[in-house]
Symmetry: C2
Subunit: 252 residues, 2 copies
């Protein structure tokens, strides 16, 4: 049984708390948050505190807090030489105070408030300073059904950047399609199966091989007509830049 | 029982042929293609021909051919007043010769060669010149398990454009993420669950509501660091343009 104290009460902390408590290999010993009201709903299932000095002994302290707070909170921890991990995609492992055994436990996924996450669909990027600390992080990921990947800080920061492309930017393309189709009174539902299929395709085929459409076909006529159809000049810019990017990737 | 002749042998024609033959409400009477060798594998299950003049009588003629060929092939059909539909997202309904009863049967989906498509996941956009022809197209879509949407030519062309955003451009963002992560020896598999979840989220939540990340949070520090991380100036341009687009959408 691995005992864990959770520090923080945001989206990631809450999803991990729920996943941890569902595993019989893990025990959440305590939950810390500066503002107790955010975790008070859980006070009958777990010990809660808003005082770092009251933190009990545990195998792992998991800090799911904002990047900017990692340095200070870790240096304020009232102990040394215990394993403390943060969950950030962009903060370095060395942002944690060096009095501690340090590690990273970064779930690469988008979490929705109020919607339970199946952790089988959450890859966890793990990193530790001390080699012997890696196994406990592997055990935790396996206990919640996740796959682990050993990823160093530079790689993790690259993943964080890549995630902006496949998540935030992709979502913005969905948004633009929503705007364009709304303007012609078209139900956005019609596009949803295509959105799913596009994501599904690259689960088994590389994005390079999966590419279709006017840009890769070098279909000038369609590209010209699409640009004419676009009424918003910002949408036009995005169309042109991504069309050029596709052409560049596919050597035209 | 609705009888259908298929004209063309590309991806869409082949997927529709398979779906039609699986329904007991539909009968594919004949399959035409200029180049017989492309459909000769099917000659034991369906009558095939490479001669338009040999086309037999059927309730519907479905032309799944390139946009440029629609005008000419439809004018070369050796009959009048029969229902002929094309499957193009961008060609107008009037591209079909006016001697015919004209319609459109546009499946809004990306088809992979060799991978069977579940037509439940394929919305069909239908349009006819004559009101009384619409019901037969509805019946065909329902027979293959698809949902139909009545969509006029302008709307269909807008959907075709929107599809470029949610399919081709999205896929190019996946490709860029693949390039960026490959350069740091990161397994692209780590990003696949996030890709799926991003697509899944907008099935129930609007893209506007689903947005997260540094641009919508106005997190200048992270944006600056990401731009510094990007080594390829074209990737930088895309990062900047889509970040500005998100900020613009969310009123920053």
């Amino acid at each position: 049984m691995i005992s864990i104290c959770i520090i923080g009460a945001g989206n990631v902390a809450t999803h991990l708390y729920k996943a941890f408590t569902q595993s019989n290999q893990l025990q959440v010993k305590q939950w810390y948050n500066r503002d107790l009201s955010k975790i008070s709903t859980y006070k009958n299932e777990v010990a809660i505190t808003n005082t770092l000095d009251d933190l009990v002994e545990a195998d792992v302290y998991l800090m799911a807090i904002s990047d900017d707070a990692i340095k200070q909170v870790s240096s304020n921890l009232p102990f040394e030489n215990r394993l403390v991990v943060h969950t950030s995609g962009s903060a370095g492992i060395h942002d944690l105070d060096k009095k501690l055994r340090r590690g990273v436990f970064y779930p690469l996924q988008t979490f929705s408030k109020g919607v339970d996450m199946d952790f089988k669909q959450v890859p966890i990027c793990i990193e530790t300073i001390d080699k012997q600390d890696i196994d406990i992080l592997k055990t935790i990921t396996e206990a919640i059904g996740s796959k682990w990947y050993r990823i160093n800080t530079e790689q993790r920061q690259t993943l964080h950047l890549s995630a902006v492309f496949v998540n935030n930017f992709t979502n913005q393309l969905y948004r633009i399609a929503h705007e364009i189709s709304d303007a012609k009174s078209i139900d956005f539902d019609i596009l949803k199966p295509l959105i799913m299929e596009t994501a599904k395709k690259v689960q088994t085929v590389s994005p390079y091989m999966a590419q279709t459409g006017p840009a890769v076909r070098h279909d000038k006529k369609t590209i010209k007509r699409h640009l004419k159809q676009l009424e918003n000049s910002k949408h036009k810019d995005i169309y042109e830049l991504l069309t050029a990017s596709i052409k560049n990737t596919h050597g035209r």
